[in-house]
């Protein structure tokens, strides 16, 4: 599990170097802005090209890895977080970015969200939440508002939507933020802080599905007559879960910004500490000798 990898020259990447296939998203999809913002932040932070690792599950937004020219993996539905956990833990030298939608993250992969948060795995996770299933063409998603009609709820959604912010606070994520794909500067700032945060950092990004749920986030968009109301970080107790819970109560359209931010040992650090201690018990021995010693104990 070597983490001694020769440091690459940190040359500034150009957008051209980072672009891959042209996105297959529908015209005016909010996800274009998310991709552009990701390019901006990666360029700004000077992350070496080969250390960028883009991970996704299944969904419209989960096509992300094909649109970034970087090491990427397009996995199965709902399991991007455990996959990324395996990458992050086994390769601490990499920058692991997970992209996905509300169905992938909050529905089929809901259990993994809780556990990646509680374990505080070191990675950044952007949930491009559009309140609808887009790839399969307009079914109710776990964040679809009550009463909204879809192909699976022709009389309007009857199941209470989940509250991603409250769920993340409860399950122990150490950086929780909320942004809007139409607010590029704010989105850039949130992504940058998420990447720099040591531990499990999540940014819920409201990203409009212009095909199936147009106007879903107009109430948070001043250009569409809404209000983009920011969290006041001067007054907010950033390390208080109860304050974050309080902020999470109303998400229509709710506040944007960092809801909660704290430092806690990451899963990566805790596992590494055990590894280091275990290595001390076998200091000076070759791996084969460690195994021979084990055999000797079985005689």
């Amino acid at each position: 599990m070597s983490d001694t990898i020769s440091a690459a020259p940190a040359e500034k990447l150009t957008k051209k170097q980072l672009k891959a296939d042209h996105p297959t998203w529908c015209p005016a999809c909010g996800d274009f802005a998310v991709l552009a913002s990701f390019f901006n932040v990666v360029q700004k932070l000077g992350i070496p090209h080969e250390k960028i690792c883009v991970v996704a599950g299944i969904g419209c937004s989960s096509r992300f890895p094909y649109f970034v020219n970087a090491h990427g993996i397009h996995f199965i539905h709902g399991r991007a977080l455990p996959l990324a956990t395996g990458i992050s833990l086994s390769r601490p030298d990499l920058h692991v970015f997970v992209f996905g939608g509300d169905g992938d993250g909050f529905s089929i992969g809901g259990n993994h969200l809780n556990h990646a948060a509680r374990k505080n795995v070191n990675l950044s996770y952007v949930v491009m939440d559009n309140f609808v299933y887009g790839l399969t063409k307009n079914q109710t998603s776990p964040t679809t508002p009550l009463g909204r009609k879809s192909k699976t709820d022709p009389r309007g959604a009857i199941d209470r939507p989940i509250n991603p912010m409250a769920q993340l606070v409860a399950s122990g994520a150490t950086f929780i933020a909320r942004t809007h794909a139409a607010q590029v500067k704010h989105m850039n700032a949130m992504f940058e802080r998420a990447i720099l945060h040591p531990g499990f950092a999540v940014v819920e990004t409201l990203s409009e599905c212009t095909m199936f749920f147009p106007g879903a986030f107009d109430d948070g968009n001043p250009r569409k007559g809404g209000v983009f109301d920011l969290v006041n970080e001067e007054e907010q107790e950033m390390e208080s879960t109860s304050a974050a819970m309080e902020l999470s109560q109303d998400l229509s359209p709710g506040k944007f910004g960092v809801y909660y931010e704290t430092k806690r040992d990451t899963k990566n650090d805790l596992e590494r500490a055990w590894l280091t201690d275990a290595q001390k018990t076998v200091a000076g021995m070759s791996e084969q000798d460690i195994l021979r010693q084990r055999f000797a104990s079985m005689r």
Binding site: M1, I5, I73, H74, G86, S90, I290, M298
Partner: protein, 596 residues
């Protein structure tokens, strides 16, 4: 040497026992497994062979449990058809297990617990008050503690086992805990050793015939774990399920010493996903489970086939379907292991035949996974996983694969999915000289990893994934035949039926029949020379611990019939949650031969 026994142990080597099958029957909390483990460890360190068999109730605590030990001075291939000696701790142990004792065998029973004694079939009954004698020896009121060690002492005296070495083994086990515990254990052991058993003569075991001083005794899950380490695995992830769990426990503690890690996950889906993540990162990773857990991992295994990720998946089979018989043996996951997923998802499946073979099978799985960029399933089972065997320590100078992480720069000719070569991925962290980076994907893709729905491309890529495994099958050496190389009947087996099949082969050949046996490690893809081998026998019989299904054939037999179109292939199946007896196999084979 005990002074209090009625008969002096006989010194005549001719009367020494070459084999002894001892069945201990009690409750799961009585520590009868540790008596078995002590005997196993003793056998391993005195050049004797040993094989054990146990049942554990799948209740939370307690319930009837047995541990059977087969000690032998030569080859021991199976845990024993019937017991020479029964040790019954309770009335229910006595009532349920007396029938497993051979005619004229011996039954030790706890005279404090067992009342009814049936005199039948010449079985010698010896009542010993395990409970009260132990209390007397240790003092105090430690009701049921220590009587297992008392029984161990008793058996050591009866079979004239190496008392000094056994005392050392007990000291090694209990000495770490506290002086009191060790003192009590030794008091119980000595009391058992000195107990007068007037009704029988001592039955000394013949000295072991196995050469070499480096003999181990352990169970299959431990050997599989060690094989994975020797094969270069440095990352794993899992979720607890019986009987797989001891592998994850072992690796969780052991891998950090090798600069590796094993992660306990929230569920089976996460476990296989973490392993694929580590594999994508360039490591050789494992996950594992038992039957139901393997089903949960199926989707991700299909992904690993499509994305061509090296991955080891261990499946310790148990009785199924569903929760089934979680602590019993079965071989009913073969087809799941080979086909369980969606779409055409070829992968490799290999199966160890005994505890020792777990080590070498694991190393081979590691080699195949890396060389062919493919998921490899290791199909072990509850019997191999939990029983003890003694064998020679593996030579690491010959059996060792260094873990590798290849982060070298990839040149202009790099393609993640070349049609003319076996895929070798470029893990993250590896630079690309051209500045173009690959995406590993579960969508059908072209050679560069771009999604592609092109009809010809899908057909070519499906063939690529299939053909690399055919290439693997071509690399197998000729299939080994045990016994007669042609003749009247060939047994074909896989997994833990190895011992009983080998002994059935020997027994039939010693009676003048012409019988051979083939035991397959490579169950998928199958070796290519089987059709020719089958032609050399009048009958082909496939014993399997799974059901004969709708069409009368077990799971391997079904595959062999599909592979060779040979109508001679017949099945004999057993789904009782226990292994085949040698006699059952001989009877099935003789019946098949007679029906000709």
């Amino acid at each position: 040497m005990s002074q209090s026994t009625a008969h002096a142990p006989t010194d005549s080597p001719s009367s020494a026992l070459r084999n002894a099958v001892i069945r201990l029957a009690g409750d799961s909390q009585d520590g009868i497994q540790s008596v078995g483990a002590f005997l196993g460890q003793l056998a391993g360190s005195t050049a004797q062979e040993v094989m054990t068999y146990m049942t554990i109730p799948s209740t939370i605590s307690g319930g009837p449990s047995i541990f059977q030990v087969h000690l032998g001075s030569g080859d021991v291939l199976h845990p024993g058809d019937e017991a020479d000696t029964l040790v019954a701790f309770y009335q229910h142990s006595y009532d349920n297990h007396l029938k497993t004792v051979k005619d004229g065998g011996i039954c030790f029973y706890d005279s404090d617990q067992v009342e009814e004694v049936k005199e039948e079939r010449g079985i010698i009954h010896i009542g010993v008050p395990f409970t009260s004698a132990t209390i007397e020896a240790i003092g105090g009121t430690t009701k049921s503690r220590g009587k297992n060690i008392f029984v161990l002492g008793l058996l050591c005296a009866v079979y004239q086992l190496d008392r000094v070495r056994m005392s050392e083994i007990i000291a090694g086990k209990f000495g770490k805990k506290s002086e009191d515990i060790l003192r009590n254990a030794m008091l119980a052991f000595d009391a058992g050793y000195a107990w007068p058993v007037h009704d029988i003569e001592h039955m000394p075991m013949a000295p072991g015939e196995n050469e070499g001083d480096k003999r181990l005794s352990t169970d299959g899950n431990t050997m599989l774990s060690l094989g994975l380490i020797a094969g270069g695995v440095r990352f794993g992830a899992g979720y607890p399920i019986t009987p797989w769990t001891t592998i994850m426990e072992f690796l969780r503690s052991e891998l950090p010493k090798y600069n590796g890690m094993f992660i306990q996950c929230e569920d089976e889906l996460a476990a296989v996903s973490l392993a694929i993540g580590a594999s994508f990162s360039g490591h050789l990773a494992i996950t594992g489970s038992s039957g139901p857990g393997l089903s949960l991992k199926s989707e991700a295994i299909g992904y690993a086939c499509m994305a061509e990720m090296p991955l080891i998946v261990v499946n310790i089979q148990r009785g199924g379907p569903s929760t089934g018989l979680p602590t019993s043996v079965e071989q009913s996951d073969l087809l799941q292991a080979i086909y369980g997923s969606h779409g055409d998802a070829p992968r490799v499946v290999i199966a160890p035949k005994n505890v020792e073979d777990c080590f070498y099978t694991a190393i081979e799985a590691c080699r195949i996974a890396k060389e062919y960029s493919t998921p490899v399933l290791i199909l072990s089972d509850q019997a191999i996983a939990t029983r003890l065997e003694a064998f020679q320590e593996p030579d690491l100078s010959k059996h060792w694969r260094e873990p590798t992480l290849d982060l070298s720069e990839r040149g202009a000719d790099f393609k993640p999915y070349p049609l003319d070569k076996i895929t070798k991925h470029s893990p993250p962290g590896a630079r690309s000289s051209e500045g173009k980076y690959p995406v590993v994907t579960g969508l059908e893709h072209d050679e560069w990893g771009h999604p592609s729905g092109n009809p010809e491309n899908h057909e070519k890529m499906t063939a690529k994934r299939r053909n690399k495994l055919l290439k693997l099958a071509e690399s197998y050496g000729p299939t080994e035949i045990y016994g007669e190389e042609s003749g009247s009947l060939l047994f074909v087996g896989w997994g833990s039926t190895y011992g009983p099949i080998k002994e059935a082969t020997d027994r039939m050949n010693s009676e003048g029949q012409k019988v051979g046996s083939v035991h397959l490690r490579h169950v998928h893809p199958l070796p290519g020379d089987l059709a020719e081998i089958f032609d050399r026998y009048d009958h082909v019989l496939v014993p399997e611990m799974n059901d004969s299904g709708m069409y009368g054939y077990g799971q391997l037999a079904t595959l062999l019939r599909a592979q060779t179109c040979n109508a001679k292939i017949q099945s004999t199946n057993k789904v009782q949650g226990i292994s085949f007896r040698v006699l059952e196999l001989v009877t099935a084979a003789e019946k098949l031969i007679a029906n000709k």
